[in-house]
């Protein structure tokens, strides 16, 4: 069996594109997500297209107790993990409804910490492997329009940063990927500006490039680095008046 990669939250559009990318380079794929019926269709597709081994596993980011069991049930230890799952939530609902806010935080932050702690310890012990986390530009500065999601992603970004520093000594590479707008099911119906909106395939290309070059942090598309640089440096008294 060739090297394998575990994709967490594998049925999202970005995850599917990432799976296609790794599959096209001959990786065995371990797809983990909530809907195994859909994952098994993806698995058949990936096998046919790339002639690689693909297996599907049930995984729920907010069922923390199940994470260890999932890890132990994998066929061997994967070479790497790509953590893609996320939940955009509804900002306005989250402001009034704790359950929505909590679901947003638990999915984007707590769930990611829970499963990646397990992977990190395992890779540290083996002294090798990689972890790629799909965070978001929304985590770079809290904005009126999506600060619950943004703060959870900010936490995830900080977690990955610390994890990177810790695992560097063990030869485990940790990469933070920060997409801006991506045309996916999550953003369907939102009028995102066409020029700033990436396709899931572009995100997947960036993920693969970052992995190969061992880059710590990448924005996708690249221009978001500069957009966010500007947004971070807007003085507070101006920022609070902007409708962002």
């Amino acid at each position: 069996m060739s090297k394998s990669v575990l994709i967490l939250g594998a049925s999202s559009d970005i995850a599917r594109a990432i799976a296609q990318k790794f599959g096209s380079e001959g990786w065995s794929l371990l797809l983990a997500g909530r809907d195994v019926e859909i994952l098994s269709r993806d698995a058949a597709d990936l096998r046919l297209r790339h002639n690689v081994d693909v297996a599907a596993f049930v995984f729920d980011a907010i069922d923390f107790e199940s994470h260890k069991k999932l890890w132990d049930s994998l066929p061997g230890r994967p070479e790497g993990v790509v953590c893609v799952f996320g939940y955009l939530g509804n900002q306005e609902v989250s402001e009034r409804n704790w359950y929505e806010a909590r679901k947003t935080i638990d999915t984007n932050f707590t769930g990611a910490v829970s499963i990646l702690n397990i992977a990190a310890n395992s890779f540290e012990e083996r002294k090798g492997g990689f972890i790629i986390g799909i965070s978001s530009v929304a985590g770079d500065r809290g904005r009126t329009s999506n600060y619950i999601y943004g703060s959870a992603k900010a936490g995830f970004t900080a977690y990955l940063s610390g994890l990177r520093a810790r695992l560097w000594k063990s030869g485990v590479k940790v990469t933070t990927v920060k997409p801006g707008f991506v045309a996916t099911r999550m953003t369907e119906g939102m009028n995102t500006p066409a020029l700033l909106t990436a396709t899931p395939q572009q995100v997947a290309d960036d993920v693969m490039r970052a992995y190969k070059r061992g880059r710590p942090v990448v924005y996708t598309g690249w221009f978001w680095k500069y957009i966010m640089l500007v947004i971070i440096h807007i003085p507070e008294r101006v920022f609070r008046k902007l409708k962002l």
Partner: protein, 439 residues
């Protein structure tokens, strides 16, 4: 969002939905509060075949399901593109049974248009190579149909323009090839008589297509380059060549919309003279991509027509009266200086089974015209010539024909309407085109 077809005309403010499973599609259909819906793949139909208030995009419904390496039977979801099929299966020695002039169409869209290719004279249209398909009907049921099972639904859904329901899955028979190359023979002909005779003389070739210089007049009227092709065998190519994995081909892109004045009689004439002059009568081995998809190498080529877009006009005339009819049409387009960038001629084989299939025995001519203030009047005139010779137009390329023109060209439409009214009595599936044409 503003949606338009490949010709960039017309456009409509539409809601677009994607889906991952038939359960999700069914749920999406139920949330539609106003207007009709139509399935949409890669949006490569030229006019308004895939435009409606609600677009059911197959963009995320694009998985391969199974492949039988003994028979070439490929089962996939309807959003899979022909391009994906070629990328995956050419290296394994399989090719599409029929392909239109672009690889950037989905399986669902190709079936809904019952596309034809350069091999129509011996392979028929795509529907001949579809073993079965699953369709989500207006009532939410999924129906499997084939030539033998619910055969009428099958014949109404192929070339059904999405009006019977949403094609979910299809099983298509691929053909075996030894190489990714085509043995191409090019023949220069001086005028229309010569090229039409050449089509008959060269009928033994699997693939044939002609390119006409529409601006040539008088004794040169219909001056053409005829391109013939066969899948190259291993013996046809050099031993040093990779038979099935020759590596990527170079591609270009048109990065922006050209100014409207870019294409005019002079630039088109210059292009055509250069093209005709370059093509000598010869035989060579080329990759399948430039043979089948000369324009796919230039991404977004339709932008060359500028913001106003263009209309494509594809007609077929019965073989008996075709020669005379083509001459008349070429004379009219040349005398009015309607300057087509691309004019493609082909001899079709027998008419296909589906009720609204475009191809029938005779000559087909495809022209495209930039949109100008007078173009629609001019095209109405062409319509009456086509109608007069017993011909018809291809709805996939159309955005403007009148209902009468459609009715005159498609005598089996009543059968289609009968099936359509049984499976979708409330007309949940409609396109701007189906409303215009009254189907």
């Amino acid at each position: 969002m503003l949606a338009h077809g490949w010709g960039r005309y017309p456009s409509i403010d539409a809601k677009s939905f994607t889906f991952n499973s038939e359960v999700e599609l069914r749920a999406r259909l139920e949330t539609i509060s106003s207007g009709s819906a139509i399935a949409r793949g890669l949006g490569r139909s030229y006019g308004d075949s895939s435009l409606s208030e609600n677009l059911l995009s197959t963009g995320r419904f694009n998985r391969f399901i199974s492949f039988d390496g003994a028979t070439g039977e490929l089962v996939c979801e309807s959003g899979v593109s022909l391009s994906e099929i070629l990328d995956v299966f050419v290296p394994r020695g399989w090719f599409l049974p029929v392909t239109p002039g672009t690889r950037f169409v989905t399986v669902g869209g190709a079936i809904a248009s019952d596309v034809h290719g350069k091999n129509h004279h011996n392979a028929g249209s795509l529907s001949n190579h579809v073993s079965w398909m699953d369709i989500l009907l207006a009532d939410g049921d999924v129906a499997r149909c084939s030539k033998s099972e619910r055969g009428e639904l099958f014949l109404a859904t192929c070339a059904g323009y999405g009006l019977t329901g949403v094609i979910l899955r299809a099983s298509v028979r691929l053909q075996r090839v030894e190489t990714a190359y085509i043995r191409e023979r090019t023949i220069r002909t001086k005028n229309l008589d010569e090229v039409l005779d050449a089509f008959d003389e060269q009928a033994g070739w699997t693939y044939s297509v002609g390119w006409i210089d529409c601006l040539a007049r008088g004794k040169n009227l219909g001056r053409s380059v005829l391109m013939l092709g066969e899948h190259a065998t291993r013996a046809d190519i050099k031993e040093s060549m990779e038979a099935l994995r020759p590596g990527p081909v170079r591609e270009l892109a048109v990065p922006f919309e050209f100014p409207g004045f870019f294409l005019n009689t002079f630039t088109v004439r210059a292009f055509n003279v250069a093209y005709y002059g370059k093509a000598s009568s010869r035989e060579r081995i080329i990759r399948y991509e430039p043979f089948f998809y000369p324009l796919d190498g230039v991404h977004n080529w339709s932008r060359i027509y500028g913001k106003r877009g263009f209309v494509q006009y594809q007609l077929v005339l019965p073989k008996e009266s075709g020669k005379e009819g083509l001459k008349k049409i070429l004379r009219v387009t040349a005398s009015k200086g309607l300057g087509s960038f691309l004019a493609v001629l082909k001899l079709f084989g027998k008419e296909d089974g589906p009720y609204l299939s475009f191809a029938k025995e005779g000559y087909t001519l495809a022209l495209d015209f930039p949109i100008t203030s007078s173009i629609f009047v001019e095209l109405d005139e062409l319509d009456s010539i086509v109608k007069g010779y017993g011909g018809r137009l291809y709805p996939t390329k159309d955005s403007r024909m009148k209902k009468e023109m459609f009715l005159a060209g498609y005598p089996r439409r009543d059968k289609f309407m009968e099936i359509r009214s049984t499976v979708d009595p409330h007309r949940r599936f409609e396109s701007l085109q189906s409303r215009r044409l009254g189907i």
